[in-house]
Each structure stands twice: as structure tokens, then as C-alpha cells.
Subunit: 113 residues, 2 copies
């Protein structure tokens, strides 16, 4: 079996430190990004780093999504890893959702693999 | 801030169906792969798909690792996503660990980004 893999990497700069340290907001953002892909959220866990920073990983029906944040730097990255095909408008919708939730100055997207 | 990202993708073929459907074995395998990188496991969740298949995602101090399995196909993929630098021998050690745990006929590795 030959499968094709895809990782969508979103990097955020100049983002709001309070949101970057808010696991509820981050999980909600990931849920909206997953919906924008036409994918399905199953379950997630978050970890609060000390003194700050959050990692959230979530299992999807279509593999997984994760966010890692550095509030002290205003930065974060989000990866969606899948064997499935996101909806056509996914990158634009997801970038808008992420920029909005985190009040980010920039959201860069790269599709890899 | 400019960060460098790395995704190590391991794809398995011809693997043991029973192990591919065993969330305890899969989590243990991921812990050993993380140790081989010199990284640190924090917390994980698994989901059992019906009729078969497991997804496990784990938060690390150095970002995350995940496994997605298809017992009916004897296949799986594992991704380690990080901004950190794994130890030099990581790819060889991890490939050996994965091949051993899953009794896989082949373990292919690709480093992306």
C-alpha cells in the first residue's frame, strides 16, 4: 500500500501572549481549523509548560493536529498531519481562523511532503 | 524569531496486525522512539477505531509524536514533529525499535522540512 502524506505547517508571529497561554482557546481554534479542512475531531490533550507555553495535540478521524506555543515570544506553530485531502479552501480559511484567534501579525503556511 | 522545524516520518509495511491494534504496545514503542531521540515524553492519548486501528498522539517537551495504524493493511505511520535536534543515531535506532515492536517487513524513513 502506498499512501500519500501531507503536513500543513502554520507558523505564527506577533501573536497575543494571553491567547498563546490559554489551552481552552487553543483547543477551540484547532477544532475550527479541523472543521475548515472538512475533518473530524475525536479527542485532545493539552500540557501547560512552566512558566508559560501550551502544547495541545488532538486525534482526528483523519490523523492528527497539534499546536505548540511560546507566549514569551508571541509565536506558535500548528501542524495538521493527514493522509486525507482537506477541502479546497482549507489553507485560506485556516490561516484566517488562526490569525483571528491569536491576533497574530503574521501567519505563514507551508504544505510539506 | 525564525525557528527550524523537522518532521521524521516512518512508514511501516508488512507489520503484525495484533500489535498494530494494541494501544499499550504502540504507546510503549513511541516512548522508546522518544528516548532514542534524547527527547522527553509528557503525556499521551489513544483512540481505538472500529473495527480496528489505533491513533496515539503524545506531547513531548520537544513538541509531539504520533502513530496511526491500519491493522487490516499491516501498515502504519509514525511522525515525530519538533523544533529540537534529535541525537545523531536517532533515525537508525528508531527504525530498529519500530521494526522490532511491529515485526514490520519494512520501515521507511523520511525527514521532511
Amino acid at each position: 500500500m502506498e499512501m500519500s502524506y501531507r503536513v500543513d505547517l502554520f507558523t505564527l508571529l506577533g501573536a497575543d501572549a494571553a491567547v498563546l497561554n490559554d489551552s481552552v482557546a487553543i483547543e477551540q481554534c484547532l477544532r475550527h481549523v479541523v472543521e475548515a479542512a472538512g475533518f473530524h475531531f475525536i479527542d485532545s490533550i493539552s500540557h501547560q509548560f512552566q512558566p508559560q507555553g501550551i502544547s495541545t495535540v488532538a486525534i482526528l478521524e483523519e490523523s492528527h493536529i497539534a499546536a505548540h506555543t511560546w507566549p514569551e515570544k508571541g509565536s506558535a506553530y500548528i501542524t495538521l498531519t493527514t493522509c486525507a485531502q482537506p477541502e479546497d479552501s482549507f489553507v485560506e480559511k485556516a490561516s484566517d481562523i488562526i490569525a483571528d484567534v491569536f491576533a497574530a501579525q503574521s501567519v505563514n503556511h507551508r504544505e510539506i511532503l
